[in-house]
């Protein structure tokens, strides 16, 4: 018997603390697989955010910094500038990246920092108990939008990939999902591409993963993936917004 699927070396043995069905685990694994396949484990340094993935450092088997809320791209900038040979990535949620850390992500992208950003967009704050996020859909009920998000008072869902793709400096900006096996394979390729670009010193790479939050959405995991396809993906359409070096065609 030949093993055809196993836990990547870059993941530690620590069980994830995430809720049942949470996409964080899948994306962690895809990051681990990309780093393994590109043979970058001994050069990798991660930056954990504030939010559900605050303990991401426990789940990867390499050096990590735990950054203040939203500041991961600034922290990653400091690390990468100090150690240009390290493979530095941030792993951030929508509250961290698209609300409190908007300035940090935009400017790290605009400087073209040679780092990789994995952005988990599940349209809600998870760790703090299901509050409205900048990416919450119109009409979506959360702990702090109990009547549904109202565009007239809370604005509209913010599309970070599209915003970042307007900048000249980033090398690669793409949006994926892991809601079914086909999308999952595309997400795997996108994350691989992002780290490959960094390995080759080609600049800022950004992968948005549209994800579920079964607990705070109040849905079963399988139902959440269906809801994501029907409601999230029309607002956050998967696709590649920028690929300066043609990594997807290579």
């Amino acid at each position: 018997m030949k093993q055809v699927f196993k836990r990547p070396e870059s993941l530690s043995k620590t069980p994830f603390h995430y809720c049942p069905g949470c996409d964080h685990g899948v994306v962690h694994r895809l990051v681990g697989e990309a780093i393994d396949e590109l043979e970058l484990k001994n050069r990798a340094i991660g930056v954990a955010p504030v939010g559900c993935s605050v303990f991401a450092y426990d789940y990867f088997d390499f050096d990590f910094n735990q950054a203040p809320h939203g500041r991961a791209p600034a922290v990653a900038t400091g690390i990468k500038r100090t150690r240009p040979d390290a493979i530095v990535f941030t792993y951030q949620g929508d509250g961290d990246l698209a609300a409190i850390g908007t300035a940090e992500i935009i400017h790290a992208a605009n400087r073209g920092e040679n780092i990789t950003v994995i952005f988990i967009n599940n349209a809600i704050y998870g760790m703090t108990g299901g509050q409205m996020a900048p990416t919450t859909l119109i009409g979506m009920k959360t702990a702090t939008s109990p009547y549904g998000r109202d565009a007239s008072t809370a604005g509209n869902p913010i599309r970070m990939s599209e915003i970042i793709a307007t900048l000249e400096s980033p090398a690669y900006v793409t949006r994926v999902a892991v809601n079914n096996p086909a999308n999952l394979m595309k997400a795997k390729k996108a994350i691989y591409n992002a780290f490959k670009l960094q390995k080759e010193g080609k600049g800022f790479s950004f992968v948005e993963v549209v994800s579920i939050c079964p607990t705070n959405w109040g849905k079963k995991p399988a139902d959440s993936h269906k809801w994501l396809a029907e409601n999230m993906l029309p607002v956050f359409p998967p696709g590649t917004f920028k690929d300066v070096h043609g990594v997807e065609k290579a």
């Binding site: 050096d63 910094n65 203040p68 690390i79 500038r81 100090t82 150690r83 940090e104």
Partner: protein, 360 residues
């Protein structure tokens, strides 16, 4: 090296380079602008990194990242910008990352003005950000000391794995004086075994730089560990290796009144002491050169001898609280301050001394 005429802010920049600092992250604000301008020119000449960040918040977090990766790293700002940095400083202190932070203090609160002030004493010495932590606070009073304390600041930060704050002001930052610059020191980014990306074979399984301890007992243990470190620092600065570095005493032995002041004020106070002596008033000067750990013991010793203390600050009275705590009711502690960017004159201070020692 021959003496060179330099602005205080530039002296900090050159001293940082000589100390082996190759990483600067900052955001423009008056009156510290000469420092980033100097380093933006100087650092590329030594293969260093200068990044003008999008905000003070981002700058201090770049410092956090670079420091956690083993860099000798600094940032600088002035009062409102230092307020913005407090979040990062708290994380840096919690994660025990060494770095140098320069505050060229200006008038506050709020936007205040750009004139020199000492109204950030509480913020500097009480922590400033959230949580049980301390930063080491150095207070130069000359351009020479701006340079010397920058170099010593990096050494102290590395020794204690703690952020070091250099508390300057608009006068010291802007004025020019001759400076004796030391020989350059080598610094190896791979000299810290705990740093992220440390390549040595003696590295732990993996290195983690974090200030989160979700378990109550773990955080308590961590906070007591920090406290013990701060106690060691306090001992070294009050009685140990750094005793003389921490405080300057001038004509205190026979003094009936001790003038207490730091930074630029201490130079005015020196003039006041000389004028007092000429008029037959036995005045002395005690200048804290390190504001935290505060030279409590030095003041306690003088409280047994002198009759009065007069604390002078460019604020409504902040350090005077530490002086009172040190004197502990043994002798009267008076205060004289000017605020909002006003620098008190020697005549004004002399007048205050007169009121205390010659009330009739």
């Amino acid at each position: 090296m021959a003496k060179v005429l330099m602005k205080g802010n530039e002296a900090i920049g050159e001293a940082a380079v000589l100390a082996g600092c190759r990483y600067y992250f900052g955001y423009p604000i008056t009156p510290q602008s000469e420092l980033p301008a100097y380093l933006s020119k100087r650092l590329p000449q030594v293969d260093g990194v200068f990044v003008q960040a999008e905000s003070e918040v981002a700058a201090i977090n770049m410092v956090y990242g670079a420091g956690s990766a083993g860099a000798r790293v600094m940032t600088s700002s002035s009062s409102p910008g230092i307020s913005l940095k407090q979040e990062g400083i708290s994380y840096i202190a919690g994660a025990e990352v060494p770095c140098l932070i320069v505050n060229v203090v200006r008038g506050g609160p709020g936007l205040g003005n750009i004139a020199p002030a000492q109204s950030d004493y509480w913020q500097a010495t009480r922590g400033g950000g959230h949580g049980d932590y301390r930063t080491l606070v150095l207070a130069p009073n000359s351009v020479q000391e701006m340079a010397d304390m920058t170099i010593e600041g990096f050494e102290l930060a590395d020794r204690f794995r703690n952020p070091v704050l250099l508390l300057s002001d608009g006068v010291l930052g802007q004025m020019m004086e001759p400076v004796n610059l030391p020989e350059p020191r080598d610094y190896d980014v791979n000299s810290k075994k705990w740093a992220l990306g440390y390549p040595g074979k003696d590295k732990a399984e993996r290195n983690l730089c974090s200030s989160i301890f979700l378990d109550v007992e773990e955080l308590e243990e961590h906070n007591w560990h920090l406290y013990q470190k701060y106690q060691v620092m306090t001992d070294l600065f009050s009685e140990g290796q750094y005793k003389d570095f921490a405080v300057e005493e001038h004509l205190c032995d026979d003094a009936e009144i001790i003038l207490v002041g730091y930074g630029i004020i201490s130079r005015i106070l020196k003039t006041v002491v000389e004028k007092c002596r000429k008029r037959g008033i036995k005045a002395g000067l005690l200048r804290p050169k390190v504001l935290w750990p505060f030279p409590t013991k030095a003041i306690q010793r003088l409280a047994d001898k002198a009759a009065n203390f007069l604390c002078v600050e460019m604020s409504c009275g902040q350090m005077v609280e530490d002086v009172k705590l040190a004197v502990n009711g043994k002798k009267p502690v008076y205060f004289f301050g000017r605020t909002g960017g006003t620098i008190p004159s020697d005549f004004e201070i002399l007048n205050e001394v007169d009121k205390i020692v010659r009330p009739d």
